[in-house]
């Protein structure tokens, strides 16, 4: 695979400058803080409540910003200019994802702090969150590549928000409606199960299964995003 750190860094710096001057999108990073402070002040301190905010952050910040950045590049024809340059698919996708990854990591860390959530195993949780960020970046990329404008992209991320952030809530109905049990296999649900397990010293096998499910979703999303990107390189 043709990867150039110089090109990735150039794309990252360009995205950083663009993002910092695009207030309509950059304001989204503050939303999770408001929600976290609200939960904190209300004294809500359950894992479900913490991860409601965390999963919302992943959808509202990670997927939303990534989809808007990609869609804006498409809307202004700059993505095609990048595609016509010697930057490889990997350079562009990694470069464009690095900024959102960094922003997401910082926002999630601050959100966790503001929530007052002290995970039993910070390292394992950080690893799980890192996998989740990559998954939501890939989903955001897919939304951005599928749509033509920033407006369309912001609408396209709504189902992501509903399915992945609110999906785990459906699990409570699984006794009455067994079909709702499918929600357990969502990466967002696995993240909650993993976090709950960490508090109760979950067996390593269970941790492994949660990670495997999340990684499986992530690989599938990255592959779809890459295929879609390749298709967008041409007008056929």
């Amino acid at each position: 695979m043709n990867i150039s750190m110089k090109r990735i860094q150039a794309i990252f710096m360009k995205d950083y400058k663009e993002f910092s001057r695009n207030y309509a999108i950059s304001i989204m990073v503050f939303m999770p803080f408001i929600l976290a402070l609200f939960y904190n002040k209300m004294g809500i301190n359950t894992i479900d409540a913490y991860f409601m905010t965390i999963n919302l952050t992943l959808a509202m910040v990670t997927a939303f910003i990534q989809s808007c950045l990609i869609a804006e590049e498409k809307e202004s024809n700059t993505l095609r200019s990048l595609m016509m340059s010697p930057a490889s698919i990997a350079d562009i996708l990694i470069g464009k994802s690095s900024l959102v990854f960094s922003i997401s990591a910082i926002v999630l860390a601050l959100t966790v702090y503001l929530l007052g959530y002290k995970p039993a195993n910070v390292l394992v949780l950080a690893l799980a969150l890192a996998v989740s960020i990559v998954f939501y970046i890939a989903v955001g990329t897919i939304c951005g590549l599928f749509t033509k404008t920033v407006m369309e992209a912001s609408v396209a991320t709504l189902p992501v928000l509903v399915i992945f952030s609110f999906g785990p809530m459906v699990l409570g109905l699984s006794e009455k409606y067994p079909i709702a049990g499918i929600a357990e296999w969502l990466p967002s649900a696995q993240l909650i199960l993993l976090a709950e397990g960490l508090e109760t010293a979950m067996p390593a096998k269970e941790v492994f299964i949660s990670f495997a499910v999340m990684i499986g979703w992530t690989i599938a999303a990255v592959v779809i995003a890459s295929i879609l990107y390749k298709k967008r390189m041409t007008d056929d």
Partner: protein, 284 residues
């Protein structure tokens, strides 16, 4: 032997039932400035997209710099050409310099390449301006600066001066000639005949997806000329004389001895006239 920069053989491109290009063939030698002339919708941009691997032809063969055009998709080949089309976008929140800096880093160029490119398009003073503050013509010049910044072997220009004023158009023409003198082959699409005559070594007329005529502007003018001249006399009379008619020389000699000639003009067709003659329709 002159090496070919572009070889197109019987290329066809269809979008569903619509055929955008039909049996198109031409060769562009290295170092040439080649004009692809045709009205909007004639297939000019489709041809550029095939040559730059943004589209794949339905049939036929297209080779660019000795490689199948589809290979222009590969990273290592993309640095060999530059492109300016109407869908070459810029980052509006970034300055002119920041836009060029991104691509100079991607192409791994020294910082001086930005200065040279800005000088090329006469925009040195606007380097700190945000793209959102620029006029349409200035945006087109920045896009052109980006296309030529890495001094490509081959440059694709789709209507490069369509939004420019005459002064900047002349500046760009001089720059393109200098670039061409240094070895860059230029593939230019335009519907501006003056531009084609000023810049191009050879031109091809494209109409409804087919190449209708191809050649050097002077050669085409000769080929499609009716070989006549118009003589206007002091009296206001106008006479059209056929150059291959021996009586024309006699008449001319008479008028000259009478000192009654006001103006003599050869009736050479413009490229626009030739296009109309060949296709039966206007270039605009």
């Amino acid at each position: 032997m002159t090496m070919a920069a572009i070889e197109v053989t019987n290329v066809k491109k269809a979008f569903g039932t619509f055929t955008a290009l039909e049996d198109v063939s031409f060769t562009i030698n290295k170092g040439e400035i080649f004009g692809f002339l045709g009205p909007s919708g004639s297939g000019k941009t489709t041809m550029i997209k095939i040559l730059t691997a943004q589209l794949e032809q339905t049939a036929g063969e297209a080779r660019v710099l000795g490689l199948p055009s589809i290979d222009m998709k590969k990273s290592e080949n993309k640095a060999r050409f530059g492109i300016l089309t109407d869908n070459s976008g810029l980052y509006k929140r970034l300055t002119v310099e920041e836009n060029l800096l991104l691509f100079s880093n991607i192409y791994d160029l020294p910082k001086s390449a930005i200065d040279e490119a800005l000088e090329f398009v006469n925009l040195t003073d606007a380097r700190k301006k945000k793209v959102s503050e620029l006029s349409k013509g200035m945006i087109q010049r920045v896009t052109l600066a980006r296309a030529i910044m890495h001094k490509p072997d081959l440059l694709f220009l789709d209507e490069p001066t369509s939004a420019l004023d005459p002064v900047n158009t002349r500046h760009i023409y001089n720059g393109l000639r200098k670039l061409n003198d240094k070895g860059t082959t230029i593939f230019l699409t335009t519907h501006d005949m003056t531009e084609a005559e000023t810049l191009c070594n050879r031109v091809a007329f494209l109409h409804k997806g087919k190449v209708r005529a191809i050649g050097e502007p002077a050669q085409l003018k000769h080929q499609y000329s009716d070989h006549s001249m118009t003589v206007e006399l002091m009296t206001g009379e106008e006479h059209i004389l056929q150059l291959d008619d021996h009586t024309a020389a006699v008449k001319l000699s008479e008028w000259m001895s009478e000192k009654s000639i006001l103006r003599i003009q050869t009736n050479e067709p413009t490229l626009g006239d030739i296009f109309m003659q060949v296709t039966g329709s206007d270039l605009q």
